[in-house]
Amino acid sequence: MSVMKGLVVKEFREAFRDRRAIMAALFAIVTGPIIMAAVFMFQIEQELDVKDSYVEFVGAQYAPELITFLQANHVQSRQDMPENETEKWSKQEISLSIPHDYIERMQQGKPVILTLKADYSEKNLRTPLRRLESLIQGYSAQIGSTRLIMRGIDPRITTPITMDVQSTATPASKSGLIMGMVGMFIIMGLFTASMTAAIDTSAGERERHSLELILCQPVSTLKIVLSKVLCVSFYGAVAALLTMLAMTLTMSLLPLEKVGISIVVDPMTMVIITVMLLPLAFFAGIFQLFFAYRAKSFKEAQSYLSMILLLPMLVPMAIMFVPHKPEWLNYLPLAGQNILMGDLYKGESLDWMAFSMSGFSTIAISILMTLFLAKSLRSEKVVLALS
């Protein structure tokens, strides 16, 4: 027992004096919440205020009432464009042409053709164009209905079918995609934070010519691996918990309810997420150590692990795009935790089956890898690669 304690103390001393590893961990903790906050802020701003769009009205004098109607609905004439908007709209021209016989044709009950000219491939114009179209359609329908009523006809005759759309989306479920991102950021934080520590204690130790002497001591390689996993996992777990707290805090500060998203994070949820993250920290630790030990130098290990770092990004991404998820996806390491975290942040109740199964599979795989790594450190191949 005292042997194990000695090994662990040494690992912690080294890891927590490693400025490079600590910087990496801090970076991982801070980036997630910042990106998240930026994305949300932008989205909230976009959704909240309907901005004025500016349209070149050709022949405005022929249809003053239509123009007044549009202006009341945030479609302004380009002539009234304020100075600070000029740059933004200079490349995004919309022009609406009104024919000179507008009034005449209206009075005769003949159709009038308005011409809307704009670059329809321009992404930024999509919203103003859609709004303008529906405004004019609405205006046209209103006139049409009035004409029918004047002729003593019920205007509903022209709309035999009306759709009653009932969205079952709740403010909580609307947040699904975004909450999936929160889980991804937490898992990413876990991996990036423990990466440098994992490399330093494995490939770094080999590079410093310490590994061979350590392998010659009367200590089983399993104990050596365990002490390292414990330290690296601790690094990752602390970083993941801090990321989670920072994320939760960031989101509670943002006015998310204004975009119809609600996030429920009570202390119990945080405890459950913490319990879920611990096996995952073990997994991230052993997974990275396992591959870092395959490398001869710090740099080589870095290039291996940066590929592994893609895993926590790709797995959740892949899950997002699987339309009907098979049940067993919920039980895999990384995937399971990510789905569960998304659900929890959405305020759904915990799927205990998936919770325990994903925890179990994560721990089982990690234990297997630990044993395998301990065994491989006893192999001649590793010893021969030392010099």
């Binding site: 005292s2 090994l7 010659c216 009367p218 010893v383 021969l384 010099s387």
Partner: protein, 244 residues
């Protein structure tokens, strides 16, 4: 006591070590002398239990290394050819780490650390981080971590490489003191003066075989040369007759 008997080791087609047998007795300093690539490192790695021999046995105090490596290593101190430093640890912490791997703890650990730090005259550097240590200071740390658990057997792999006179003398003094206390010391080297001055017995290894063994004096007589260096060259150069 360290003993290897009829060791052979092949890496694919290449024979690194072939039927090597020798013994390093307690209270003696035994030198392994051999050119680069003679199989010294492979031989030592088999003795540490890192590599498995194809034939033969290596024992440390009569414990078979291949069968119970952890038990055998308990009475072994190793001074490797490269001084690996954990640069974020102080010298004392690093020695402590190795002492703990040998099962020392509590008061015994503290006493062992103080003892070895005093003996190697390194109390001035003991609580500094090893980053930026000179070669001599690194040697002291490395020697301290090999000796902290007072092993009965000590193996040194080219210990004087890159050391200045002062460090070499300190090392030599330590080895002679250990020998007088009845420890078994095995050390590999290229440096003839070192071997001639220190060793009671010399084992000459070339091309994976033991080509001669005996005291430095006996080797000179065997080769008919006045100096050990000439004897060494003569022995490994013409293994005919000598090896027999």
């Amino acid at each position: 006591m360290l003993k290897v008997d009829n060791l052979s080791k092949k890496f694919g087609e290449f024979t690194a070590v072939e039927s090597i047998s020798f013994e390093a007795k307690d209270g003696e300093i035994t030198g392994i002398l051999g050119p680069n690539g003679a199989g010294k490192t492979t031989c030592l790695r088999i003795l540490y239990g890192l590599l498995k021999a194809d034939t033969g046995v290596a024992t440390i105090d009569d414990i078979d290394v291949a069968k119970s490596p952890l038990l055998a290593r308990a009475s072994l101190g190793i001074f490797p050819d490269q001084f690996g430093m954990s640069e974020r640890l102080t010298a004392r912490e690093q020695i402590e780490y190795f002492a703990q791997m040998h099962g020392l703890s509590g008061q015994a650990l503290k006493e062992a650390l103080d003892r070895v730090i005093n003996e190697l005259e390194m109390s001035d550097i003991a609580d500094r981080r090893t980053e930026g240590f000179s070669q001599g200071q690194r040697m002291k740390v490395t020697l301290a971590q090999a000796l902290v658990h007072q092993p009965k057997n000590l193996v040194l792999d080219e210990p004087t490489r890159g050391l200045d006179v002062m460090s070499t003398r300190l090392l030599r003094k330590q080895l002679l003191a250990l020998k007088d206390k009845g420890h078994c010391i095995l050390f590999s080297s290229h440096v003839m003066q070192e071997v001639a001055a220190l060793c009671d017995r010399v084992i000459v290894v070339a091309k994976g075989r033991v080509v001669a063994q005996g005291s430095p004096q006996e080797l000179c007589e065997l080769a008919g040369k006045e100096y050990l260096e000439d004897a060494f060259v003569a022995i490994i150069g013409s293994d005919e007759g000598v090896a027999a």
